[in-house]
Symmetry: C2
Subunit: 467 residues, 2 copies
């Protein structure tokens, strides 16, 4: 009658894993995750074939997946993000079926609505009791929020909790609860702490990033949105973090009491919470140890599920009240469409994550990027992949100037009033070409579809072709 | 786009209430609840008819419901408990369709599994933000846990949060979250605090109750279950509370570290937690102000959903790990079947609540009751209503002795070894008759079914006939 399995193999067998099933994983252990590899290795040894992996993201630590695909153990992938190591193999055509690319908002929506059925969810939990009440906030592999795991736990036919830190029943403050859990298994380690979260959040020193951040912060300020009740999301990348630093100074100087910070959370957002810039953090994922400490200790630092974060079919979400989001891009075209899925050779090296969701929802979506990378303009005639439609993007901020989406003339006027260096996006593109020389003409081949990119409306928004 | 409605009528109209729908309510405001009456009054004024009310419990404060039934506004009832004022009307035959009696465990099971569809859930929330992140822990009408409201929020087509305490978005520590909520409406008051929770928990002074409690505690001790890891549920009634007091002394004296207390929670259970008797409380419902304070302040006092509490279709529940539960009875028969639905005239005045669930799950189910009430034996040949089957009951403890279910000979031996006054249940029945004189023979008529009592297996377990 006990849920506690002697080892992972017993858990897999007890959960009834069979050929053709869909298994799911969350990515809160990021590039330190051991669990996806452990499960697929056992499945392979058990002779299981034809699995579909539904994983909220895939990192390079998951490269053993490539062999499982080659060997027919895994034949389908549904995910929101694929890092370059695995992405290159997918672009090379190792999968017969195209990858289904979702977003951090559409993934839980599809699971909760029953569109994407999960047979067995294998959920890494940094702390669990023997009945599966579990949390990411405690234990040697603590990752903070378990936001991306909730929908899987709520709807999978079978739920297996995999933990390296079993504690006495009942765990106080559980994120996922025992009523949803079929099996619990203790393993030596669920991940490598060094890969799970970074120790500290580093402010960039690169002068180009600092210049971009300065312009972005001024543009956000000029938009008029930084006032009492302000809500804000930014990423962990260098320029994004520097934007946050500027925004913090503005808020403290002008005595502005914001509402909440959102997103993947860094220590820098924690610092803004503790400085009184925000009354709360809504956290779907922690990026560093400071964020993990804060979500464990500070009741104003709230764990939210991926559905609460950004599901397009939820009644409302933290994203749907968002004022400003600062995001990156690998390519942006003159219609402001953003590519975060593929690189300049159209090899898969990313995915929407929450990019598409928050861009669609925020009042002001700011893209920060250097005008060129590796001597190639990031502004192009047409992005290889539409990850986020241009209609959801308001500003491109580069070190050479700020392009405003023509859909936002009042925003352009506000930036011009603030004497910010506003430029047409075509002018920025021409500048990049003049600085770098003309780009080698490269038109990706269009023979073999390796991925379908689904939009917020659950329709195919774009296709990614193999190389 | 705002969820915030100007008044309750607007919320009802926006939610699309129509003839024939099922509306749901929770009972955390107990006999102080204003919300069910408010909603039905507006529905009546809007000319809505033929509603089914799915309410986790109905109290005498809800007696306006009787008129709504008479007027055809409400034509169906699904509930776990009906207090005497409304019960008498139901037994009198005001409803054409029989009431569906569930338990606190089977109600969320049926809602979550889709067996009992809810069109609109009207959920009283002592504190909410404008998007419907809400909690029972804070505000002038604080009731503590919102355990019985979760399944409704998760599955109803429309969810309306009704609160008298709107706070800034986002509410930290929400129980029900915005992704599930369609509309929010602020009203003057959701309930009368005096009826929501009692101020303090009173230990009984009645010598019969104290005698019963003394025997019950000794029997529980003799069972061998009171040891490290012990888990315990008891009610708020006099004898139950006195049992807890004895158990506390035993645990402190013998330095026993229990696991958790469960159930509707009183200040007395909080005292046991704070005294170190238990490492946690799992709380589906707070009975008094001390419990409300504790669940707000103490992380070891855990809010659980009704499904986590006792759903028979959950993967496991707090009830399924329970060692000992102390429960009451209005009738018990010589097969140990328990009636908590009807009185000695077979008038409805109660319901299973969680009685049937925890009796089915606990290792030891102890019924405490005086041998007679109003000069009638509580031990009868055959209970009018089987609320909890005798196969799930282990002990009847009265002031004249303890009857052990013959299915538990080893338990009987343990009690005899402890020199406890063990008696056959037939002997206790004969003693009651000799003390009170023979009961007036009363065989309830069986013409008109007024309620169907469903068991844990979701099958009809018994029928209640009208008077």
């Amino acid at each position: 009658m006990s849920k506690l399995c002697s080892d992972l193999r017993q858990a897999i067998v007890s959960a009834g894993l069979r050929d053709g099933m869909t298994v799911s994983f969350h990515h809160h252990l990021r590039n330190g995750d051991y669990v996806l590899n452990m499960v697929l290795q056992e499945a392979a040894q058990l002779g299981i074939r034809d699995l579909t992996v539904n994983a909220s993201s895939l990192f390079d630590c998951h490269q053993p997946l490539i062999d499982h695909i080659r060997n027919g153990v895994v034949t389908g992938l549904i995910t929101d993000y694929v890092s370059a190591g695995i992405g290159r193999a997918i672009s090379g055509g190792i999968l017969k079926k195209p990858v289904t690319f979702l977003t951090h908002g559409t993934r839980p929506s599809n699971i909760l609505n029953g569109n994407h059925h999960i047979d067995i969810a294998f959920l890494a939990a940094p702390t669990s009791d023997c009945e599966g009440n579990c949390s990411g906030k405690y234990g040697p592999s603590a990752c903070g929020s378990l936001g991306y795991a909730f929908a899987d736990a709520q709807r999978a036919d079978r739920v297996v909790i995999i933990s390296d830190n079993l504690v006495e029943y009942p765990l106080p403050d559980p994120s996922i609860t025992e009523d949803l859990v079929d099996f619990v298994v203790k393993v030596e380690a669920i991940g490598n702490p060094a890969g799970i979260v970074s120790g500290t959040t580093q402010m960039p020193k690169d002068p180009i990033a600092l210049k971009i951040a300065d312009y972005a912060a001024q543009a956000i300020h000029a938009s008029g949105l930084v006032k009492d009740g302000f809500s804000f999301q930014t990423g962990a990348g260098g320029a994004s973090l520097a934007v946050a630093d500027h925004i913090k100074r503005i808020m403290l100087r002008e005595n502005i009491h914001g509402s909440y910070a959102l997103g993947g959370i860094t220590g820098y957002m924690v610092d803004m919470l503790e400085s009184g810039c925000f009354q709360a953090i809504q956290d779907v994922q922690c990026f560093d140890l400071e964020a993990v400490r804060s979500i464990r200790e500070n009741p104003k630092h709230i764990e939210i599920t991926a559905a609460q974060y950004a599901s397009p079919t939820a009644r409302s979400t933290a994203a749907s009240h968002l004022d400003v989001v600062v995001l990156g891009a690998t390519q942006i075209d003159t219609d402001f469409n953003i590519n975060v899925h593929t690189d300049s050779n159209n090899l898969i090296m990313g995915g929407s994550g929450g990019h598409t969701d928050v861009a669609a929802e925020a009042k002001l979506t700011v893209i920060v990027a250097p005008l060129s990378r590796a001597r190639m303009s990031i502004v192009v005639d047409r992005v290889f992949t539409v990850s986020t439609p241009g209609s959801d993007v308001d500003l491109l901020v580069t070190q050479y100037g700020i392009a405003v989406n023509p859909r936002r003339p009042e925003l352009k006027a506000a930036l011009e009033s603030a004497r910010l260096p506003v430029a047409d996006i075509q002018a920025l593109q021409r500048l990049a070409v003049s600085l770098n020389g003309p780009a080698k003409p490269f038109q990706p081949p269009k023979d073999h579809v390796v991925a379908q990119v689904f939009g917020r409306n659950n329709q195919v928004q774009d296709l990614i072709y193999g190389i």
